[in-house]
Symmetry: D2
Subunit: 367 residues, 4 copies
Amino acid sequence: MITGKASVLEQFKAPLQLRQYPIPAKPEPGAALVRTIMAGICGTDVHLWKGELPITLPVILGHETVGRIEQLGEGLEKDWTGQPLKVGDRVTWTSSTSCGECYYCREKHQPTRCAQRRAYGIGYRCDQAPYFLGGYAEYHYLKPRVNIFKIADDLPTEAVVGAGCALNTAIHGVERTGIAWRDNVVVQGAGPVGIAALAVAKSAGAGQVIVLGAPKHRLEMAKRFGADHVIDIDEVKTPADRIAAVRALTGGYGADVVLECVGSPTAVGEGMEMCRDGGKYLVLGHYCDAGPVSWNPHVVTRKQLTVIGSWSYEPRHLRMALEFMRTTQQQFPFAEMVSHRFTLDQANEALATTASWKAAKSVLVPG
Amino acid sequence: MITGKASVLEQFKAPLQLRQYPIPAKPEPGAALVRTIMAGICGTDVHLWKGELPITLPVILGHETVGRIEQLGEGLEKDWTGQPLKVGDRVTWTSSTSCGECYYCREKHQPTRCAQRRAYGIGYRCDQAPYFLGGYAEYHYLKPRVNIFKIADDLPTEAVVGAGCALNTAIHGVERTGIAWRDNVVVQGAGPVGIAALAVAKSAGAGQVIVLGAPKHRLEMAKRFGADHVIDIDEVKTPADRIAAVRALTGGYGADVVLECVGSPTAVGEGMEMCRDGGKYLVLGHYCDAGPVSWNPHVVTRKQLTVIGSWSYEPRHLRMALEFMRTTQQQFPFAEMVSHRFTLDQANEALATTASWKAAKSVLVPG
Amino acid sequence: MITGKASVLEQFKAPLQLRQYPIPAKPEPGAALVRTIMAGICGTDVHLWKGELPITLPVILGHETVGRIEQLGEGLEKDWTGQPLKVGDRVTWTSSTSCGECYYCREKHQPTRCAQRRAYGIGYRCDQAPYFLGGYAEYHYLKPRVNIFKIADDLPTEAVVGAGCALNTAIHGVERTGIAWRDNVVVQGAGPVGIAALAVAKSAGAGQVIVLGAPKHRLEMAKRFGADHVIDIDEVKTPADRIAAVRALTGGYGADVVLECVGSPTAVGEGMEMCRDGGKYLVLGHYCDAGPVSWNPHVVTRKQLTVIGSWSYEPRHLRMALEFMRTTQQQFPFAEMVSHRFTLDQANEALATTASWKAAKSVLVPG
Amino acid sequence: MITGKASVLEQFKAPLQLRQYPIPAKPEPGAALVRTIMAGICGTDVHLWKGELPITLPVILGHETVGRIEQLGEGLEKDWTGQPLKVGDRVTWTSSTSCGECYYCREKHQPTRCAQRRAYGIGYRCDQAPYFLGGYAEYHYLKPRVNIFKIADDLPTEAVVGAGCALNTAIHGVERTGIAWRDNVVVQGAGPVGIAALAVAKSAGAGQVIVLGAPKHRLEMAKRFGADHVIDIDEVKTPADRIAAVRALTGGYGADVVLECVGSPTAVGEGMEMCRDGGKYLVLGHYCDAGPVSWNPHVVTRKQLTVIGSWSYEPRHLRMALEFMRTTQQQFPFAEMVSHRFTLDQANEALATTASWKAAKSVLVPG
C-alpha cells in the first residue's frame, strides 16, 4: 500500500498535523487521482481553523489547488469544456459540485445553492477513504462528477492558485451585479477577493475603480492591477471620512456600484453610503457569518439601492477565469499574487502568514 | 378677496386648525387652481403629524387629492398625456415634480431622487402665497410644471383616492423588482401599500400571492383583491412561525419575491428569511426612517438575495395606475378601499382613524 | 413476444400505415415503458408528413403525449421535479432531452440548442428497437435521461395534450421576450401556438391582448381565452389595413410587444410594423423553414426594435405549463382545445383535420 | 449687418455653393451663437448630398461640430451637465433635441423616437433666419433647449469631431445590445461607426473583438484601436468564407455579439450567421434606408437570436462619449481619426474624400 502525506486539521485552533494516508489503488469510474502541484491558502481556511464554520474534523484544508493527473477512472475522458484528459495533464477543478437535479439546479438556475454541494478542503472528513479530499496534501482525489479543467500551457500554475477561489467568486458576484459601461466602481477591501473584483470590474466596463483597504502592500498590488484610486483605511480612519473621500472622487454623488470584499458587517452600512442613489451594492465578502450589525433598512428605500448577494461560483465562472487570466496576464498579473511559498510541513506557518495579512497570497508546494 | 378653508398642521402632535387663506386671483403661467373634491389621509400623514419627518410648519397635509379645475394659467393646455385640459375637468396630479435637468433626472434615470423635489402636503409652508399646497383644503394650487392627469369619466374619484400614493408607489417598486411569470410572491403588510402591491403582483404575472398582516378587516380586503393565502400576524405571532408558514406554502423553499409593505425595521430580517435562495426582496415600506435594527448581512450572501429599494413614484406610474384601475375595477375594486369619509372640520378625527388602523382608507370631502 | 400497434409514416405524403412492433421486455436502467393515453396532432406533424423537414423514415409521429407507466427501468424512481414515480402513474415528458454537457448546455444556458437533441415523434426511426419512440402508438418507450413529469390528479389529460408543445414553446418565447406590466400585446395567429401565447401573455402582465387570425372558430376560442380584441384576417385582408387596425387599438403607436405565431415569412414584416417604436417582436412561429422573404432591415434600426427568436422549450417550461394549467383551468380552458378525437387507425383522418385547420386540436386515443 | 459664410447644398448631386448669410444680432432666450472651430463630414452627409433621404433644400450640412461660444441668449447659463457656460467656451452639442413631453419621451423612454426631433445639418432650411443650422459654416446658431456640452481642456477638438456622431451612436447601440463580460464580439464594418463600436465593445467587457472591413487603412486603424483580429473583405470575398473565418476564431460557434456597422442590407443575413446560437445582433448601420433584401426569418427562431435596433443617440450618450474619450486617449486615439482637413470653400472636395472611403475622417476648418 502506497501512502501520501497530508497536513490535517484535527482540532480547532491547534496546529495542523502531518499525517500519512493510503492512496486509492484505482479511482472509481468517473473519478481521478491527482498529484498536487500547488495549493492555495484562502482566508476562509483561517476561519475554518478557528472553528468559525460548522465542519466535522479531521479535515485536509485547501480548496484552491492545481495538480497533475496520476490516474483516470473509467469513463473520465474529457474535461468540463470537452477537451480530452490524459495522465500527466495539469488541471484544476471546482471545489464543489452541484447535483444538477434539484429545485435550485433545475428550476431556479441557482446551482450554487444546491443542497448537495460539499466542498473539497471544507466539507469532507479525511479519516476514511478516499482520504485525499483537500489541497494541503501530496495527492488529491477527485470524485465522480467533479468539474475538471485542463490548464493551458501558457497559463502558469501561480496565476491559477494566486487568483484562487477569489477570482471565480468575484466573476460570479460581478455577473450578478452588472456593471454598466463607464460606471464608477468602489471596491471595499484589498485582499484576494478585492483584487480579483478590481480586475473583473476594470475589464467589465468600469470607468474609474476606487479601492479601499490596507495594508500598504495590498494597495500597491491594487495599483498594479489598475486601481484608479486607492484609499488607505489606516490613514482615512473613519467611515464618514471614507464616504466623503469616495464622494469627492465621484462628483459628489457616490459610486454607481460598490463591491464589498471585506467580510466585516460594519463595512456594509458604510459601503451603502458610498453608493449614489439608485446604485448597486454587492455583498460578496460575507461567505462566513460574522454576526449581526446595527443597520437601517430605510437607506435601501431612500437611496433606491439594489443590494445583491452572491455565493461561491459555478463551473462556468472557473472556465471564464482561466481564459481571462490567460489572455490578460500583462494587465492582471495574478501570478504575482503568490508572495509566500511553503512546503507541506510548513502548513502552520503558511496559515499564520495568511492570518496576519502579511501575504498577498501564501501557497503550499507539497512536492 | 375670496378665501378658502384649510385644515392646518401648526404644531406637531397638536390638533389641526381650520384656517382661511386668500385664493390666488389668477394662476401664474403654467399653473392651475383646483377645487378639492376628495383628499386621502395617508399613513405618512400620521408620521408627519407626529413630527417624525423633518418638515417646516405650518403645513396643509394631503398628497393624494382629486379636484376640479377652476382656473388654468396661461399656456397650460394639456395634461401629462397630451389630452386637452379645460375648466371643470376632474384631475389628479403627482405630489412632487422633478426638475428634469439634474444628474439624477438626466444621466441616471432616477428622477425620484432629484434634489429639487418637494411634495404637496409635505414640503410647502402654507403661511405664504399661494397657500393652498396640500389636500386638506377647499382649494389646491398647482404650481407650474406640475404633472396633471385628467381622470376618465368611468373611473370614480373614490378609486383614485382609495388607491392613493400607495398604488403608484407599489407600481414603481414592483417595476424595479421584477416579477417573473408564475413567481410565488409574499406581501408583508395589508395596509394600503400592501393591498396595492398585491393588486400589482397578481396582475403582473405572479402565481400565488400570500399576504401577511392584520387586523381582520384588512385581510378580508386582501382576499377581496385576490390574495391566494392570508396569514394573520395576530394569530401567527412569531417570526419563526410566519417564516415556517410561508415555506409550507412554497414547497419548503420560500417565495421567489417578497414585498415589504410594513415600514417596521424588524420586518426586514423576517422577510428575507421568507425568500427562497436566489430570491428578491423589495424594501418598499420604509419611506419613513423608523431607525436601525440588528441585521446580519451574511444572509444576503448565503441566500444569494437581491434586495431592492424604491422611492416614491414617477409620473408615468400614476399614468399606469389610472389606466390599470379603470380597466380592472371588477378584479381590483380600489373604490371600495374608501371606508371612512370626513368633512374638512373633521380632519383630526380622520387622522385618528387612520392612525388607529381602523380604516382601510379615510378621506376628506371638503365640499 | 408481445406486440403493440403504431401508425407509421413510411413515405412522405402517403397514408400512415398501421404496424405492429415488439414491446421491449424490460426497459434499460433509467428508461420506462408507457402505455399511451392520448397523443396530440401538432401542426408540425403535417409539415413532417409533407417531407418539409429533414427526417429519416420510417417514423412514428407524435411529440405531445400523455401515458401511463407500465414498467420502470432500474434507478428511475423520481420524476423531473423529484416526486416518486411508480407503475400506473399518469405522466408526460419533454419530446427532446439535452445532453447537459456541451457548450450550449453548460456555458451559454441555451440547452434547446444542444446538438445532441433528438425529438420523439420526429428524430427516431421506428424500424429498430425500441421502436416505440413516437406518440401515434399504443406504447411509448422513454429512453434514459428523459424528463418525465407526473400529472396532478386534478389536471385532465385533455388539457395537457390540448396545450401540447404549443404552450411550452409559448412560455419559453414569452420568457425570452419579456412582457412589462400593462404592455399592449398583439398575437399574430390563432392556432394552438397563438392561443397559448395569448394565455401566457394575459397571465404575464399584459394590458390588452389583440389576436389576429382565422377561421372564426379559432377567434372564438381566442375570446374564450381572454383576447381583448380579435381581428379576422379573412375580413381585414391587407397588411396595411391590419396594421392600421392594430394602431387604432393602441393609441396610434402600435403594440409594445408582438408575438408571431403564424410561421409565414410575410407575417414578419407586417408584424414589425404593428410594433410601436422601441417595441419587441418575437419570431415564434418559424420552427419550420418556410423560406425567405423580402424584408428591409432599416425598419429594425429606425423603429429601434428588439426582435427575439425562441426555439422549442426546456423541461422547466413544461413544469411551469403543467402548474399553470392546473391552477387556471377556469380562465384558460386548455382541455376545451381538444375538439376532435380519433383512434389509432384513424390517424390519417386526424392529420387531415389538423392540416385543414378545422380542428382546434385533434388527438389520438389509441386505447 | 454682419454676415458669415456657409457651404450650402442647394441641389442634390450638384456642388455645394458658398453663400453669405446675416448673423443674428442677438440669440433668443435659451439660444446661443457659436463660431465653428471644426465640422465633421459624416457618411450620412454623402447620402444627403445624393438625395437619398427626404430633406428640404437648401441646407447647410454638418451635424458633428465643435465651436466657440460667441453669444449666449438670456437664461442660458449652464451646459447639459450643469457646468457654467460663458462666451469663449469650446462646446459641442447634440444634433437633435427631443421634446421631452410626448409618448416616446415621457412614457416609453425612447426619446430618440420623439416625433419633434429635427437635426442640425439635416432637417433645417438655411434660407430663413437664423440660417446657421448646420456645421459647414463659419457660425452655428443653437436654438433654445439645445443640449450643449462644454469640452474639457484636455480633450482635443480633433477627438470630438473625429469620433463624431458615430461614437455616440455606437454607445447607444451597444448599451441597448448589452455585452457580457468576455463576450466574443464581431464588428461588421471598419468605417467611423465600426471603429467607434470596436472602442466601445473593447472597453465594455468584450473578450476578443473581430473587425471585418476594408480598405487596408481602415483595418490598420482598427488594429490601432485594439481589434484582436481583422478580416479584410477585399481578401475574404464571400459571405460563406467570412462566416467560416469568424467561426474559426470563436471555437466553431460564432460570436456572442455581432455589431452591424455597414449599412448594406446583405450584411444583415451574413452577420446573423456569424452569431452563435442564442447570440445577439445589433443592426446599427441602417440609419439610411438602403432597401429590402431577401432574408429568412427562420434563422431568428432556429438560432434563437436577439436582434436589436438602435436609432441615433440621447444627450447622455454624448456626455459619456466626451468623458470616455478624455480618459482613454492612449487606448482609443479618436483624434487620430481626423485624416483630412479642408477649408470651407473646399467642402466639395471634403465630401468627395469621404464618399470615396479614402479618409478615416474628413473635417472642415472654417476659420
